[in-house]
Amino acid sequence: MATATSYLSAVSEADARARTARSSTPTPTATPALSFASSTSSEHTSDLEEFDDNDDKLMGPLSVPFRPPTSEQVFSTVHTEFGHCASEEYRHTSAHTPGTPIHGHIDKDPPYYILLSTYISYLILIVLGHIRDFLGKRFHPKAYRHLMPHDGYAPLNSDFDSFYTRRLKTRMDECFAQPVTGVAGRTIVLLDRVSLDYNRTQVATGTKTRALNISSYNYLGFAQARGGCADVVEESIKRYGISTCGARLEGGTSELHTVGEKLVAQFVGTEDSLLSSMGFATNSTFIPAIVGKGCLVISDELNHSSIRFGVRFSGAHVRMFKHNDMKSLESLLREVISQGQPRTHRPWRKILLIVEGLYSMEGTMVNLPGIMKLKEKYKFYLFVDEAHSIGAVGPNGRGVADYYNIDPKSIDLLMGTFTKSFGAAGGYVAGKKAIIDRIRVKGYSGPYAEAMSIPVLTQVIASMASIMGVAVPTTSMNNSSLALRNNGSNGHLSVDDEYHHPGPVPVKTLPGWMSLPSELASGEEGRTRLRRLAFNSFYLHRGLDKLGFITYGHPSSPIVPLILFNPGKMMMFHRMMKDREVPIITVVVAYPATPLVTTRVRFCVSAAHTKEDIDCILKACDEIGDVMDIKHGLPKSERWHIDEICARAVELVNLPVDV
């Protein structure tokens, strides 16, 4: 823990640095690292220059590629945003092999002493908390005034309700709400802070640290301030402005919304789609449009809060089944259909099953083939929330349906967000036109919520089009700046204007002014991103497993939870990762977001990471794991050494999926 003295010394250092920066004008000559980065993009200068270049923490090893690029390699991205990785062997495809079994969620148990010590830790924390409250209320009543009734007002937050926050979460506040600046890409710049009053407040020290970012939702690495997509977004702001001024149904619809909706429908393979300006609101405002009183929603027990919100808004009855467990689902279905509505036994008007494609805390992938089989028999409607899986899984990045090679048209509603894979914000629902039109009119967002803003919309269109690739009709080959060569990788030459799922997007779908650079328009870079993400996900997942850690989830999933168990290890893990030579920032989560015992670290892999970045993370985990005793997955004899894992990464990734 940073003490007051270390804080003061940090402040004085920062002051000194700031003074020198003011007295001597920053040198315009490029440092070696700068020239590396700028050698990669022809017209744009590196983003590094936007930060004070005397802050060497920002330059560090993270800014320079592990292997300097050779003369024929041209990278169009900035290394700090999207890592340079030219080696074709560090690629993988995320696809289901037909015939392999699909398991539900598997709980892996640690030794008993770990479970016991976890419970004891919580017990100690709770007892200490109550003692502090007891004494505090008597000796320092002023600090508790806002928790007690005063002046005829009941407290906003009673001391009982806020106990967990005050006595447990406050202890590790340094892990949460860390302010950042710049792009949340491969690396991220932290605005350093300290707390001088036991986490009651946090003070910015004024310094910045560049850290390896394995925490942001940036699966395909489209969080970029430079590059083709950002150029197109800039153009859109110049052409259209920022806001579309109002709700979709009340004068806030732009032609770009029509384009975006058509493109999303093509991307996921449905007739139509509808956009929403916020991911959370996509669920919470659209679900009430399709279910209501007399309907039943069957929901996976680990579904996201936004789904619960939406279902509660709708007034539909809700039942839950065990996470990703087809047996539990089937027995529930048999019960609810045979029993009908509670008390009256009337048949349900309709039953909607809501599941997620990838679960954000577990990394498990939905057993879609199992659900499709049940769907045939039990006639329920299916709503798949692809918030995390769209763009992230499947050989074409089209989500879980693509991964399992299931016709997306056979799923009634596909929902997803643009935050995670497309570097944008907001969400969509996609399905048959009749259903989407109903949601357009009856979803709360239509008349009430602001429409998606222009830059966000353009980012969605540009990134999605570059994942799909743009098909150019042969006649306009010579004059179009959109694509230099035909996209033949999917087995058909796109000579006609029609869209074939999951192929490239016809050029007429995109707005005429939008010109993507050739590497994006050809879909080449999009495919590389998908394959890099798959490689990185598999590698981190299996690397951690082989090191002996307990991880959850599917190896295809870019979400890799590593289970820590003891709550005390949470903050230590976070801090030890952040304080390394190459700082790594992590997301640690505990109860109530997870079950009480399975406190975890959640890594979010990105296509922007290079193999060396994953090596770096594995090494860090290996060292910390030994220090903190968190390797409980494999007996010592079966573990691999870290060097062996790094060396045999490709072999490890290519092992068949057996989860």
Partner: protein
Amino acid sequence: MDSSPLEPALAYIAHALSTLERGFYKLPGSAIIERYVRSSHQNDPGRTFLELVLFAFVIRTLLQSRTRADKDAKHFINFSEKEIDELVDEWTPEPLAPPLHEQEASDLAALPIVAGPNGPRPKLVSTGKSAYNLASLNFTGLSGNEHIKQRAIETLRKYGVGSCGPAGFYGTVDVHMDLEKDIADFLGTEASILYSQGFSTISSVIPAFCKRGDIIVADRGVTLAIQKGIEISRSTVRWFDHNDLQSLEDVLLSVEKERKKKRGPLTRRFIVTEGIFERDGAMVDLPKLIELKQKYKYRLILDETFSFGTVGRTGRGLTELYNVPASKIDMLVGSVAIGLCAGGGFCAGSHTVVDHQRINGPAFVFSASMPPLLAVSGSEGINVLRSTPSILDALHENVRAARSILDRLENITIPSHPASPIIHIQLRNSASALSVPVAKPGSHKPSNPTSAMPRDPPQFDILTEEKILQDIVEEALAQGVMITKAKRVRGMEITEARPSIRLAMTSALSKKETEKAVGVVKAAIVKVLARRR
């Protein structure tokens, strides 16, 4: 002593009991049990019996299965597997979404789509021509501001588009903190918190504070977002008549009486209402409201979605208009999307109020933070409003100009406040094709506060009125003025709002242009209503 045949048996029993007693006292902890039994007995066998029943109940509860499935419920019917299969086969669900009916489909088809930038005179896709825009929300004309666009591009070049994470996990970008500070400074509150969508703000703020058992006193005419927030909070709701502070006071009094009668503990109590009502543009009397809230010790959640950035000398909203310190409002909710033409919403208040939401506001915790460039656009919007009060003057001038044209029109009612930048136009009952009995005026019995329905609900025929209004909208568009009906999700709100046309004034049109555009709307109303007769 006479010998009795029972004597040896009694002696044996006495001996056995004393052995048992001695044995019992040898057990560790027996003294505690003895003391417990003694103190619970207190020479009253009834008490011991009660203890025993309790003990038996505990045992029974412990032995019972933890997760009692519905199978044990009273109404559960046991079916054989075969019967279940048959029932499954027989069950036919309704279609997932009923197809749109004629009116809905034609309304959707008639939706104007803007080609190019939206603003005071956007080009429409359908006609290919530009039209005066009285539909989109661009009150202070920030939409086309070149400086804001430039700053947004700069932000894009430094931060990219998305923030890629919830605020708790590396989604708190410095520009978010700047905008939060800017909003708090602008309004004069201690702090503020950003949400990534305007609509989701209030429906998340309410459940963050109001829990089961708390009391919410709300206006009957609140917008859907507030209705949903109240619904999800599970608090006890009492309704007062729309924008009627006398009715509010009555309700507050009755709640107080109820509490005294029940002698319940002190619970959190909230008044929830809007500054300018989304449903009809009415404006609340803020000083009176604050007086009431302080008198009865309620906290005030005020939704300023349509008043922030539109009223007051520099657009600070109702607090500026009425000259009331914003710190008197406990939770002041506004929209960055509407008031500042960027995106998202905010809740301003004290540090305690704001920090509480950072952990308990569902739409804040579980959602990615807003894109940085929208936050910067919001900050720049505030700068523009601060530095150029003439924008607000122009807006208010246009509102007055519009009202002076519309107020003279017969056959329509305008429930909106004269200063409101949104103007709702409703049909008078006589214009409606279907004549429905008008409620008797003068019945002064108060409405039932537990029901959202007022005592004498206004009568109107939604379908017919919607049809007429849509004709007016289309007629106006044909004459080059884009307006819109106030769209609703019919059948999903607690009470149905009367159909209306919602005009949104903007400072981006000059007074002349505004007069011309509103004149066209007036002509369209006259024409369509004449045709109906």
